[in-house]
Symmetry: C2
Subunit: 194 residues, 2 copies
DNA sequence: CGCATACGAATGAACGTTCGTTTGCAAATA
DNA sequence: TATTTGCAAACGAACGTTCATTCGTATGCG
């Protein structure tokens, strides 16, 4: 029974460490020897736990895509007003960016290094997410809750606006996570307001 | 007199092409052989015009840092209200992102691949720019033109909010450059408004 | 003019290094 | 004993870069 030894499996440790390295140096600039050293192994030993460098990236990308899609699912099922839906999704983006910085990096930057069957699949998931988010924004505009504006401009501005959190926010620094969340949500919601 | 034969020198062509490749695939994932092929040369021939891969990156980073710093200089010299200063700088970021996408990539992403004497120098320039931008935001808050909020949250949200333009905007598509600029400026300025 | 010289530009071959990955075997764990 | 884990060594491929050489053209000089 090779289930659990300590808290998490070594495979999980490798994945998390890789995610951090990919965020700090980028996927291409992170070598398997870098990764091995960071988890106190030799490069060859990694392959007892994972099957390729790209598999690691693939897992990171799809896990996080799934996280955002689940959040979308949840938001859609509650019957909220468009502003409340956006607020909820925005909170998801912000807290995710702060407590697991890699998600944002994967979602925004590193996915392009996927190879072809995976690349197209990931892009499809991303397109699906964007489309559902855009629907909410357009609904809010038609209901008069949001200012009339190009939905794509609003969509991508929202996505991008949380991109800095992952390399700027440090818990315990000047602002708490809750304060940052509140500030950013207010900024964006006011930008959307009719 | 080896001045001009056609429009631009081959060195300039190499730099521009490299900037495009760095934006599309990232610095590390772009090989000198990729670059050579893109300018219709062999890899070895590149070195008749440039001295290293990193020199290209260095030029891109510092040229664009200088562009933003010049814009800052200009905005500071006119005696404008804080909102008008921000509007002006925001316009600079937006138009730059649309007409020369690489600037934003360099300014936001690729600089971290610089090597050490250059890396520190670049970070210093960047810190200077951010500090002057932050001063404007804080002034606007004290003057009551902007809502009171954490200046860093405002600052980085503004920077990030234009990051999507470079891989989304295509002239001639649904929106013109002027429309995009107007929409984004309005979004951000309303988010700042008291 | 005719010819030597200099030089910018391009190249194929090769350098040393690093890349991701595979293999065979030993140690640890079950 | 059977399975998992780790490692040294090695693999071919790709990396950034150097080098000697070549070709074409422009200049200097008789």
């Amino acid at each position: 029974m090779p289930k659990m030894k300590k808290k998490t499996s070594k495979k999980a440790l490798i994945q998390e460490t890789a995610a951090r390295l990919f965020r700090d140096k980028g996927y291409s600039a992170t070598s398997m020897r870098d990764l091995a050293e960071a988890v106190d192994l030799k490069a060859s030993s990694l392959y007892n736990h994972i099957s390729s460098k790209e598999e690691i990236l693939k897992n990171i990308c799809f896990e996080n895509a799934q996280r955002f899609l689940s959040g979308m699912e949840e938001v859609e099922q509650q019957s909220l007003s468009a502003p409340d839906q956006v607020r909820e999704l925005l909170r998801l983006h912000i807290t995710t960016a702060m407590e697991d910085a890699t998600s944002v990096t994967a979602f925004n930057d590193e996915w392009r290094h996927l190879n072809e069957p995976d690349l197209s699949e990931f892009k499809a998931l991303r397109r699906d997410y964007e489309q559902r988010f855009r629907k909410i924004l357009e609904g809010g505009m038609q209901a008069g809750a949001f200012r009339r504006m190009d939905a794509n401009v609003a969509l991508y501005t929202i996505f991008s606006s949380v991109r800095w959190l992952y390399d700027w926010f440090q818990p315990g620094k000047a602002l708490t996570a809750e304060q940052v969340e509140q500030e950013v949500v207010e900024f964006i919601m006011q930008g959307l307001k009719a």
